[in-house]
């Protein structure tokens, strides 16, 4: 059977190539894997994305938090990498994502961050480095498996694909209700993170041929495939 | 490629200049680059004219002019003729420059055709040649040269025979007769100046002035 099938142009990126591309993407733009409130991320830079603190009455400035996601690895259908029983086996047109997520909050009970400029004028608060003075981070790291599908979208570089997370499973987290809570939280976070990563079609084909997509993305044969015309 | 210009002021390949000498005497002259005669004083060559013996027959003496760069010499530096005879100068070298015969008498020379002289020109290219007097005289005329196109040997032979037939234009008292002639490519027209006041036979395109149009106007009337 021909590669192009009923179309004229075929482009596919194998999961190994996709992992290489994602590694390069997150290496160049690590802020897509690093988020935090001002207590952890003083400003949005290429390294981190600043978010709002969790607002809560009686806590001036809110609760500082951060989420650090390890560079994910993907495995396209058919399944090559092991998955937790809840996600096994990997379904058709699906890929799995494996990563580790670290969630931190600031446990400084005095919460005097709002007054810091007056009391500590010489503190180093510039850049994206977290304030060092009163931050007492408490962190929690969890291994995450996710199942996602790919869909076509647009990007500043033209037609692109992105990944939509369908399901998530955490490893060895107890009790079950807590696991469910964290899964719900991380599903939303990972879904948002990956949806913002848009991979243009020329990147997926390393610039080989122009492709006006008609069919795909399809996940099969350990790769993501697109079909179309010149 | 040699030029084929209708201009009696300088004699080129296919042209000839002839002068009759009506009185006995020694006539000295030079042959110089065309139109430069008035800048040269030397008169190294001689036409010795003896008194005639009462014969009414004009004899023609043809001199061949050789050209060596810008230097011209006749094949005989001195000739002796009888009064009333004609001397003709021509250069058969297509690579030669145009020349002028400059005599020591006003009537003797091709720069200004005065009395009992002539200029012949073989027309190598088709077209209508309106000739004028470059010295602002009123005499002029037209020579229409028609090309002959043939691809047969017979046609070619007919053409070659026609080439031996010349056409005469007589110029006297400021008039040319006939003023208009029709010939074919390669044929020769002989302009015989019986009496003139120093004219030239010059293609009007060379002098910039109004071309001769006398007969043409008459035709249009």
């Amino acid at each position: 059977m021909s590669l192009t099938e009923a179309q004229s142009v075929f482009a596919a990126i194998h999961e190994d190539g996709l992992n290489d591309l994602l590694q390069r993407f997150f290496a160049a733009r690590p802020r897509y894997l690093s988020y935090g409130s001002p207590g952890f991320v003083a400003a949005t830079t290429v390294n981190s994305t600043q978010m709002s603190a969790i607002q809560f009455p009686g806590i001036p400035g809110g609760i500082d938090w951060s989420v650090q996601i390890a560079r994910p690895r993907v495995d396209a259908h058919p399944q090559s990498a092991p998955l937790p029983a809840e996600l096994d086996p990997l379904g058709l047109q699906r890929l799995s994502i494996h990563t580790v997520v670290e969630i931190c909050i600031n446990c400084n009970e005095r919460q005097n961050r709002g007054r810091e400029p007056e009391n500590h004028p010489h503190d180093d608060h510039h850049g994206d480095k977290p304030p060092s003075g009163n931050l007492r981070p408490v962190c929690f790291k969890v291994e995450v498996f996710a199942i996602a599908h790919a869909e076509r979208t647009s990007s500043p570089d033209g037609d692109a694909i992105r990944f939509i997370v369908d399901a998530i499973e955490l490893v060895d987290l107890q009790p079950t209700d807590f696991e469910t809570l964290i899964e719900c939280l991380l599903l939303q976070i990972l879904r948002a993170v990956l949806a913002s990563v848009r991979l243009p079609l020329p990147a997926l084909s390393a610039g080989a041929f122009s492709l006006t997509p008609a069919v795909g993305p399809e996940i099969e044969n350990d790769q993501i495939e697109m079909y179309g015309s010149l | 490629m040699f030029s084929n210009v209708l201009d009696s002021r300088s004699i080129g390949f296919g042209d000839a200049f002839g002068q009759r000498f009506m009185r006995p005497g020694t006539y000295r002259y030079n042959i110089v680059l065309g139109s430069t005669g008035c800048m040269v004083d030397e008169r190294p060559y001689v036409v010795e004219v003896e008194k005639g013996g009462g014969s009414a027959t004009m004899e023609q003496h043809s001199l061949v002019v050789h050209c060596d760069g810008r230097s011209f010499t006749p094949d005989r530096e001195a000739i002796t003729i009888r009064e009333g005879d004609l001397v003709v100068w021509a250069c058969p070298d297509p690579a030669a420059a145009r020349f002028e015969v400059r005599g020591d008498k006003e009537f003797f020379g091709n720069a200004r055709l005065t009395n009992e002289c002539g200029y012949s020109h073989a027309f190598g290219l088709p077209g209508e040649y309106r000739w004028v007097d470059a010295h602002h005289g009123k005499v002029g005329g037209v020579v229409r040269v028609k090309d002959v196109r043939t691809d047969s040997c017979e046609g070619l032979e007919r053409w070659r025979k026609r080439l031996a037939k010349g056409t005469l234009v007589l110029i006297a008292d400021g008039k040319a007769e006939p003023a208009e002639v029709d010939i074919v490519t390669g044929q020769t027209v002989f302009f015989a100046v019986v009496k003139g006041d120093g004219i030239s036979i010059t293609d009007s395109s060379l002098v910039g002035g109004a071309p001769f149009a006398g007969r043409a106007k008459a035709k249009r009337r």
Binding site: D20, A28, P156, A208 | S120, L168
Partner: protein, 264 residues
Amino acid sequence: MDITAAIDEPAADQLLDTAIGLISLPPASGAGTLGPFFASYNASASLSSGDVDLIAPSTIRIQDFRLDWNLGFSFGFDLSSFLPDFCIPQVCIDIPCVGRVCTPGFCVNWPTVSVPVSFSDFVKVTADFGISITQTGGVWRVEAVVQGTPNIQFGLVTAGLLAAISLAITPILLAVPFIGPLLAIAVNAIIAAIGIAGVTGLLGPILTPFVSGLRIPIYDQPVTFEALAATSAIDPAVFVTIDDVKAIITSTNEDELVLTIDIS
């Protein structure tokens, strides 16, 4: 292989048509023979599309691609080589009351003339191309490279060029004094001397270099490939390294040109 990209034959036809149309052929100049004559020439040419036939495992046959060319050349010849010596005979005229005057006869040495010719036409060429993969100067290139020396069929071009030469000669010879009725003889003799062999002998060495060694770009990307362009200071460009490129033609239920690319 990390990346696989393929196009079928119609897409290859479209791709190569576009690529061929973008090829800028450098003009050529030099000297050659036109039958018995030497000609100096300037030539320019452009290419346009043909029909692509992908032949596994590594041949791209392009049928009837078109080479449009403009040729300006000039050649000189001694007219004496084609026309016999010719003499205007002595002409004698009877002048009334004067007598008989004769002008001297003279012989015409036919000149050497130079004829400039300008001619445009096209030829269709069929050629087999191989696939060349190179990485030089930090750029990966996949090109279709013509194999051997394509045979150019000149066909009616020769007659057209002979007619153009004839048209160019005529006005120049018309300016030769006394050629008159000999013009047609001269033109016919010159055209006969050149002949079809003379025209192809001139055109072949001029036009063949335009297509021999022809390279049609298929893939042209830097080793450090920009996968995503920078959009802001916090979203810089993303580069991947192209480690290897391979190209092959496969034949299954249809013929395809397949590129496989390794990245890291």
